[in-house]
């Protein structure tokens, strides 16, 4: 499908644009959950209602300035492999890969703003920005929400706010998250303490790019847990304040590591760089770990010939469906390990690639 092809031609802007604290923060994401009043929620709606809801949302979105020039992707016409590409690019959830009937995605070409239609809620307005930028990301999604208010009749209660299919999102329907890279805290073994502290203030920490509790590549996603009783602005400010504190700890941890174990740290970083430039087989997990080490090297000024945006793009490209698209064929896992290693060598300008 040509829409997917267009998206694949260049990396998403949130990966390549400059952002505050971007050596530790990859991106910030904001989503608002909204539903149409009195209509059955997605999981209970009959197919014909679902497509009605989808079409209504589509025409409402078409009239907004925020989504001017956006691309409409009908999931019914999108094969599974393309839906996987969209999921790997964080544009849709794996839920939408699986349940795609009468679902849709509306996305602006830079991929910073998008709307999932008929996921768990009728609308999931999403905004992603590079670096520590959750306020900006919230402002954008808030503007789109304002534009839609009136065009669509959102389900709302004066007592409990915006009504969502799951009670964990009711109220603001707002989820704000920052994707942070914390190798310093992991190496110093302080990470568990930080995670426990964040949980204590009702924030959620997840390892990203890995399922469940596996903190692959030292990337973590920190997000708000509660949506009821706190305003949107306070939710965003609160999360930002805590993330800034975590970044302070990460900076300190990096300095301690440099002070006390400089040679060890440099050795680890240069070895990782060497493997990425020469390996012939790389699993996703191994590649993630190595990219993480190189990213730390770039952040500390040890490695200077690799740019952060390139490392960000690699995190997306080494995923299974993106690799298969890059090499235009379907591959078994072992073949993908080979392709992943080839891609990394080419990307890092290794002599033989």
């Amino acid at each position: 499908m040509s829409v997917i092809k267009n998206l694949l031609e260049k990396p998403a802007r949130w990966l390549t644009d400059d952002g505050e604290e971007n050596e530790m923060v990859l991106s910030c994401r904001v989503r608002l959950a909204r539903n149409l009043d009195k209509r059955p929620f997605t999981h209970t709606a009959q197919p014909k209602f679902l497509s009605e809801i989808r079409d209504e949302i589509r025409s409402a979105l078409a009239g907004t300035d925020s989504m001017k020039g956006a691309i409409y992707v009908d999931m019914d016409d999108t094969p599974e492999s393309d839906r996987m590409v969209l999921a790997e690019r964080r544009l849709i959830s794996y839920e939408l890969v699986k349940n795609f009937k009468s679902r849709a995605l509306v996305v602006e070409p830079g991929e910073k703003m998008s709307v999932m239609v008929n996921e768990e809620d009728h609308l999931r307005l999403q905004s992603v920005e590079p670096g520590l930028s959750m306020q900006h990301a919230y402002e954008r999604v808030d503007r789109l929400d304002d534009e839609l208010d009136g065009r669509l009749n959102f389900a709302f209660s004066e007592k409990v706010g915006y009504l969502t299919a799951c009670t964990t999102n009711v109220g603001t329907g707002l989820r704000v998250s920052a994707m942070v890279h914390l190798p310093g805290l992991v190496h110093k073994k302080d990470i568990q303490q930080i995670i426990d502290g964040l949980r204590h203030v009702r924030l959620t920490v997840r390892g990203t790019y890995g399922e469940g509790s596996d903190f692959m590549g030292n990337f973590f996603q920190i997000s708000n847990t509660i949506t009821l009783g706190l305003s949107e602005v306070d939710t965003v400010k609160n999360l930002e304040a805590h993330v800034r504190k975590v970044l302070e700890f990460e900076k300190k941890a990096r300095n301690v590591l440099l002070d006390k174990a400089r040679s060890l740290l440099e050795d680890k970083i240069w070895r990782a760089y060497g493997i990425l430039k020469t390996a012939r087989l790389l699993t996703t997990k191994e590649a993630m770990g190595l990219i993480s080490a190189v990213r730390l090297g770039v952040g500390l000024g040890i490695i200077t010939d690799v740019k952060l945006p390139d490392l960000n793009e690699m995190l997306i490209m080494i995923q299974p469906m993106h690799l298969q698209r890059l090499y235009s064929r379907s591959m078994a896992p072992e073949e993908r390990d080979r392709a992943r290693a080839d891609y990394m060598r080419a990307k890092l300008g290794a002599g033989d690639a």
Binding site: T44, G150, T172
Partner: protein, 173 residues
């Protein structure tokens, strides 16, 4: 075997659903199956569990039609089905199951009142409500420090705001 929905025609479609390791069997005739959207089930890989649970609910709702309670009048879902799948049927469920939901919301969020954004059509009303809440808090503080003159002012202001917001609905004021 008779169809468990209409209880008239012969059931020719038999379906087994497993929820939380409990096995539930559905026997249904083709007409009712079509009415309930069951034929769609066979053709797609839609979230089967969800839809079947919904089908069970609507089948049951026919049987329980006389009772007519315990189900959201808008989407005909029961609180039990919410407990099973963790998602409510429609926005009206929040109103209908309010009593059960409030303690749940309190345990999830530590709060039961929305303090965030409000859609345009609710804005005036909610702002007035929020103002009343603020004034009521101030009122109890003023009474605590025995500033009765101020308390009287606040009471009047609260009364005025209450009348404003309820004006549209109440006949006698």
């Amino acid at each position: 075997m008779l169809c468990q929905v209409c209880k008239k025609r012969e059931a020719t479609i038999h379906f087994t659903n497993v929820v939380d390791s409990k096995v539930e069997k559905i026997h249904i005739c083709p007409q009712c199956a079509e009415e309930k959207g069951f034929d769609y089930l066979k053709k797609s890989n839609f979230a089967m569990g969800d839809l079947v649970a919904g089908l069970l609910d609507s089948a049951l709702s026919d049987a329980e039609a006389d009772e007519g309670k315990g189900r959201c009048p808008n989407c005909h879902r029961s609180y039990d089905s919410f407990k099973k799948i963790g998602r409510l049927g429609c926005s009206n469920c929040y109103d209908f199951f309010q009593e059960q939901l409030i303690p749940l919301l309190s345990s999830i969020h530590g709060n039961t009142r929305h303090r965030g954004k409000v859609p345009k059509r609710f804005r005036d009303r909610v702002n007035a409500d929020r103002r009343v809440l603020e004034l009521e808090e101030e009122l109890s503080r003023t009474i605590a420090c025995e500033k009765y003159e101020r308390a009287a002012e606040l009471r009047d202001e609260i009364k005025r705001l209450r009348n404003d917001t309820e004006g549209g609905d109440t006949v006698c004021q």
